[in-house]
């Protein structure tokens, strides 16, 4: 049961204390992936395929190995064979086998005594390729006559006779679709396209790996989840998992992109070959863009039926997505998100996971949801315009609520979509009059949020301060929110709680900081662990008082006699209990290992005003509003930060960000110069409203807040551009080139 239901008077929850790692991060002291050096350390560099698809005929490293100071070269021949499934995919993506599958695919790696020497050595490794036909675009890749990238890699879901690059097929739905469309006054069906985008974290992947001949190893790495790194490296290299100890550095952004391995196994392979010396590998930006996980590109058909008063009667979504040369495009979650906002009697979903000669897609903030939102929320807007209906009112009319059977199956518990829609209606931004060439767009978005394997340990120190050991790296302030929840539960000041992100040897397995789970799952686990420690402290007090432990309550950081003993003894404060714990039974601690239940989904609604330059097609964001259901905001400033950051990533996706490939299948914009993420001067203030519909499944009502915010900007901006120009852009990004072409042609683009 949520503590809300009996207590909303919090001392810490909902306040805005300074984050515990703030000082380190404003002074340059915080240590990120590339900031570590180790005794005897070597530097690595990776040789990458310049071709989109090519057979590797020969690798000659003799010139590199002849350089003084070059200590090891590894190729796929140095990796174990016989892997299957996702383990094989990870190994193949870490280092190409017979065939390089995309521009940037690693084919060899070298370790040397300096970074420059390693780079020089890499340049001397000669690779002979035989070019193979390639395919980049998802709609090309799904054609029956497309070059088959990995024949035989389709899973059991793919019916026989499907095109060769379809590796997964999904279809599901509920309700009578035909009856739904028949009941509609307007049925519209459109196709929408989104391009691949990159998470764009500013810190490139970096690690120092060490692996000895005894099979024991260590790694320092920037990652969202070091247990995942440990498991994946072990699988790729054939190691015993527990023999590898992985420490997470501070992490310079991840957004889903740092939940899997890319070059990390190579540092271990190089280390082993170099006699166990640690090997540092740091990607440059071009490597990050060419070889780490962007998200999928998508081609989506959506069909919706609506009555003339705005009731949605049926929806059908057919999504085709490529996630690179490996299975794993987020077509499943995209479909699940497609109609999640709406209470519709009939929905049908069909999805195709398609291979293309691109890097293996990684998760990116609400994987799949932004594409789905773009397609569905654009079409809903198109229908509102056609029928002359208000887009917020139509969303309110159809909004999913508590008890609605979700489009993807379950029945919603308490949810806050309606509250976000009401919040934007009431916000002053929604009433600002617009000028010429300006337009307003509205869209909503959804993310499931997630729990996942979680292990947390908390312990009381001798002076009554508390330490919390967690396994979810702190990307955006989670140490603050965790310390606040533990402090609140324990009844001690925030500053008395230290949250440590500990290495893999210190806890049971933890999933990464992904799925918006850290404050929910690690937070819930930390609260449960804290309650265990509290119970133990109550027991210690009870022994001393010689009363029944059940007759002791924990109030304001102290054990207090309750019930018949109330008032008999003065409260025993945490410091007092802690100070004598060695003589009262030893260490006082609590822990949690499990899969915390009670996840609460999160909806958000965004409103954006744009101005489009009719002569150049340039879109300027004039004002931007995010309203999202946080459940409860533990630290509101970092909740706002998640809303704002997600919105701005969505703005980038909508307007400028995309992977641009040449005819040769090479990525043409592998720099921050031409992979155009939003800069400060592109943006207005990002206004936020934190809606709080507490999640009954969390002790403080927390839902995840990290991911939902990236979905609505794509359609909201498309809707605003349509309002400003009269033209509908159905292909992201809405670059000036595309917008101007649509304006000049007087037709949708």
């Amino acid at each position: 049961m949520a503590k809300d239901e009996f207590n909303t008077e919090f001392k810490l929850v909902g306040t805005r204390p300074n984050r515990p790692d703030g000082l380190d991060k404003v002074t340059g002291r915080a240590r990120y992936g590339a900031d570590m050096t180790m005794p005897g350390m070597l530097w690595g560099a990776v040789v990458r395929s310049p071709h989109a698809h090519a057979r590797i005929k020969k690798i000659d490293a003799s010139k590199a190995l002849a350089l003084e100071g070059v200590k090891a070269v590894v190729t796929r021949a140095d990796f174990p064979t016989g892997l299957t499934g996702e383990d094989w995919n990870l190994q193949e993506n870490s280092m190409a086998g017979d065939v390089a599958l995309y521009d940037g695919h690693a084919v060899a790696a070298v370790a040397a005594t300096s970074a420059l020497l390693a780079q020089d050595a890499a340049a001397l490794i000669e690779v002979e390729y035989e070019l193979l036909p390639h395919v980049i675009d998802v709609d090309d890749a799904i054609k029956p006559d497309a070059p088959a990238i990995r024949p035989g890699s389709a899973d059991h879901s793919v019916p026989e006779g499907f095109p060769p690059n379809v590796v997964r097929y999904i279809d599901y739905g509920h309700g009578d679709l035909d009856a739904g469309f028949a009941a509609a006054d307007l049925v519209m069906e459109k196709t929408y396209l989104t391009e691949a985008t990159h998470q764009g974290y500013i810190e490139p992947q970096a690690c120092v790996g060490q692996l000895g001949a005894d099979g024991k190893g260590e790694m320092w790495v920037c990652t969202q989840g070091h247990w995942f790194i440990r498991q994946m490296c072990s699988a790729v290299l054939g190691l015993e998992v527990a023999q590898l100890r992985v420490t997470a550095s501070e992490i310079g952004g991840g957004f889903g992109g740092k939940t899997m391995v890319f070059m990390e196994p190579l540092s271990l392979a190089l280390s082993k070959k170099a006699g166990g010396r640690p090997v540092k590998l740091v990607m440059n930006r071009a490597e990050v863009l060419r070889a780490t996980g962007p998200t999928a590109s998508a081609s989506m058909d959506v069909k919706i039926g609506m009555t003339k008063d705005g009731k949605m009667t049926a929806g059908k979504a057919v999504f085709r997505m490529q996630g690179g040369a490996f299975p794993g495009a987020p077509v499943d979650s995209a479909l699940d998100c497609a109609f999640a906002n709406y209470d519709m009697p009939a929905v049908y979903h069909e999805g195709f996971d398609v291979l293309a000669n691109r890097p293996k897609a990684a998760a990116y903030r609400a994987p799949g949801s932004p594409m789905a939102a773009f397609a569905v929320e654009s079409l809903v807007d198109e229908m509102c315009r056609e029928l002359g209906l208000d887009p917020v009112e139509v969303r309110l009319k159809n909004a999913a609520r508590e008890g609605t059977k979700a489009s993807y199956g379950p029945t919603y518990n308490k949810i806050g979509l309606v509250e976000t829609l009401e919040a934007v209606k009431a916000h002053p931004n929604y009433a600002v009059p617009l000028g010429p060439n300006q337009g307003r767009g509205v869209a909503s978005g959804f993310w499931f949020n997630y729990n996942g394997d979680t292990a947390v340990s908390m312990a009381i120190a001798e002076d009554g301060t508390a330490q919390v050991s967690v396994g979810t790296p702190d990307i955006g302030g989670s140490r603050a929110s965790l310390a606040m929840m533990v402090g609140e539960t324990l009844g001690v000041p925030y500053e008395h709680v230290r949250v440590n992100v500990v290495e893999t040897g210190a806890l049971g397995i933890n999933e990464p900081t992904h799925g918006s789970r850290a404050t929910f799952a690690t937070g819930k686990a930390a609260v449960i662990a804290t309650e265990q420690a509290i119970a133990e402290m109550c027991r210690r007090a009870a022994v001393e008082w010689d009363i029944d432990p059940d007759a002791v309550e924990w109030i304001d950081g102290a054990a207090q006699p309750a019930g018949p003993n109330a008032g008999k003894f003065p409260p025993m404060k945490i410091g007092e209990i802690a100070g004598k714990m060695s003589t009262t039974g030893g260490p006082i601690a609590g822990h949690y290992e499990g899969f915390p239940d009670g996840v609460g989904v999160s909806f958000g609604t965004h409103v954006v005003d744009v101005e489009v330059d009719p002569e150049t097609g340039h879109t300027k964001i004039l004002r931007y509003l995010v309203a999202q259901d946080a459940g409860r905001a533990i630290h509101p400033a970092y909740v706002e930060g998640q809303f704002q950051g997600g919105a701005v990533q969505g703005i980038g996706w909508a307007l400028n960000e995309e992977y641009v490939y040449g005819e040769d299948g090479r990525l043409q914009n592998a720099t921050f110069l031409d992979y155009r993420v939003p800069v400060a001067s592109d943006l207005p203030k990002i206004d936020t409203v934190i809606v709080e519909v507490p999640n009954p499944g969390h002790p403080y009502g927390v839902r995840g807040v990290g991911e939902t915010g990236i979905a609505p900007p794509l359609p909201a901006i498309a809707n605003a551009v349509a309002a400003a120009t009269g033209q509908r852009l159905r292909h992201l990004p809405m670059t000036p080139v595309k917008v101007l072409a649509a304006i000049q042609a007087g037709q949708d683009g």
Partner: protein, 159 residues
């Protein structure tokens, strides 16, 4: 490819290092001097994470060679606080939650200080354009701009 001996002043201290002429000032700060507060996000002058002051002018240290620092003065994030006394920008960044992952933070602080040193009363738009070369992927810049404006106000005595 012999290394070149470089003597320079970093955060007020005279330091010496040997640099390969291909190494950037950023490489030398991080790998020769152990000053890892300056970060490499791109290596091409497009992200600003490596921002330092070189003879009083804001530069991307990835676009300066280490050997060019000979006889010059370099100021990095590690020199911004005076002992325990944080610069107002550093304090305001913490108070305003103007960082999430914190990776871009050192570069942004150095760049923002360079702005306030020459323009104590910038408009929001001036802040945004000055910092356009400092990419932040976490915050959407909103709280960063607020923190810079608030620090400027405090430094002017207007807060």
């Amino acid at each position: 490819m012999s290394k070149i001996h470089v003597t320079t002043t970093v955060n007020g201290d005279t330091v010496e290092f040997l640099a390969d002429p291909r190494e950037t000032l950023l490489d030398c700060l991080r790998d020769r001097l152990g000053l890892t507060g300056s970060k490499e996000g791109c290596g091409t002058g497009d992200c600003g994470a490596c921002s330092v002051m070189l003879d009083g002018r804001l530069v991307s240290s990835c676009l300066v060679l280490g050997v060019e620092a000979e006889g010059k003065t370099v100021d990095t994030i590690e020199g911004m606080a005076r002992g325990d006394d944080l610069h107002p920008l550093q304090r305001k960044f913490i108070e305003h939650a103007a960082l999430q992952c914190g990776f871009c933070t050192p570069g942004i602080l150095v760049a923002a200080k360079a702005l306030l040193d020459q323009n104590p009363d910038p408009s929001e738009s001036e802040v945004r354009y000055w910092l356009a070369g400092n990419l932040c992927r976490c915050t959407g810049y909103d709280k960063i701009v607020n923190a810079v404006m608030d620090a400027a106000a405090e430094m002017r005595g207007a807060a």
